[in-house]
């Protein structure tokens, strides 16, 4: 068994692995784990040694599936994260998150004077400009948002 698996196994649920070290809490916050009264338990590893990325964060959530918009948000926080679906203690599905070329409805435009920030029937919408460093551009006001601004608006 791999040495990073220090936390007890889950029966059914989701593992978010290879999160950039230190970003796990941000990922948890967008999953709103703390908000709803829920029946899933969460284990978090922060700065665990990893062969692939020297240090990484990992989150394991029992009885919880991720929605597409949640995976998209995770890709903005931790673009190298991998998601594993666990069924009956076994990994049944595994994929790496991918920054979408169009980012719709998950980031609020940082420009307060952008038309998407007032009562109009549209979702926010951005185009991916660059992965490293992360830059996205609002398809309405054309302003760029940096990683710091994006993390503040998720």
């Amino acid at each position: 068994m791999e040495q990073t698996l220090k936390i007890s196994k889950i029966k059914d649920g989701t593992v978010i692995d290879h999160i950039a070290a230190g970003k796990a809490l941000k990922v948890l916050s967008i999953l709103k784990i703390d908000e709803k009264s829920n029946n899933y338990s969460v284990s978090i590893g922060i700065r665990v040694p990893s062969s692939k990325m020297s240090y990484k964060d990992v989150i394991k959530i029992e009885n919880r599936n991720l929605e597409k918009f949640e995976v998209d948000k995770i890709s903005l926080i931790a673009p190298d994260a991998s998601i594993s679906i666990v069924k009956d203690y076994e990994v049944t599905q595994k994929y790496t998150v991918e920054l979408p070329a169009r980012i719709v409805g998950i980031v609020k435009c940082h420009n307060a004077n952008c038309i998407t920030n007032v009562k109009e029937p549209v979702s926010s919408e951005f185009t991916l400009v660059s992965k490293k460093p992360l830059v996205i551009r609002c398809n309405f006001c054309e302003r760029n948002m940096s990683e710091r601004e994006i993390l503040g608006s998720l």
């Binding site: 038309i115 109009e120 549209v122 309405f140 054309e142 302003r143």
Partner: protein
Amino acid sequence: MLKNRSIVSIDDVSQSELEDIFKKADEMSEHLKQGKPLKILDGKIMATFFYEPSTRTRLSFESSMNRLGGSVISVSEAKSSSVAKGETLADTVRMAEGYSDIIVIRHPMEGAAKLAARFSSKPIINAGDGSGQHPTQTIMDLYTIRKELGGINGKTITMVGDLRYGRTVHSLLLALTNYDVKVNLISPEILKIPDHIISRLPKDFNVNVSADFDNALEETDVLYVTRIQKERFTDQNEYLSVIGSYSITPETVEKMKEKSIIMHPLPRIDEISPDVDTSPNAAYFRQASNGVPVRMALISMILG
């Protein structure tokens, strides 16, 4: 082909389409000179929505449409009528498309024209969205440089004044990245070009963001002056000192090349001394008069 297309951003127009617009604008200038009435857009209606005050742009659009034989309907105070009733821009546009063939919008928020274009089946022309784009002004600026100096490539353009809030300089600067030009930017610290514009310039674009005014003048082909608004300054003395060091006088013109031109989107306040107006280098009124043929060209290509 520009037919039935919205023009929201200068990026919506390709280089070859720009050339087509320039040629068409030359034709329109000829028609205007000869005073020949045109019937190209007979029966077509333009709706204009100005959510922000404008004299020049609005008159220029309305004049252009009338000159082409079309007609114009407009809301005199778009702001007070629909916004006050809480109607969204999306709804206003979907109402207006039933009444018109083309819609012109000026709005105080960035992205407004883009949003309008999403909801309209009729073409939208952005006549200015907040501190965002003003593509027809940019096309007319490029047209002016081409007409006055015979071309745009190889020229040195120096932009001076309010580079922070002036949307015309933002649009023009981005459009100039498609040409082989040098750009000098000159402004007081508080009116510096915003980072969100600089970050959109290509890495190899020849721009000097902190140019020295006197040095720049010597090599300048186009001096693009913008309005410095008193309201931007909390301290009136600071405004006066800024105006003092950035205003264009006959002495400024002396330092410039013989064939160079001075442009200004107008209205000017104190940035250009009236003594400069009679200089052959003063191109700002010619620039303003290019607004009509350029808009005639664009509208006729969209609706033609």
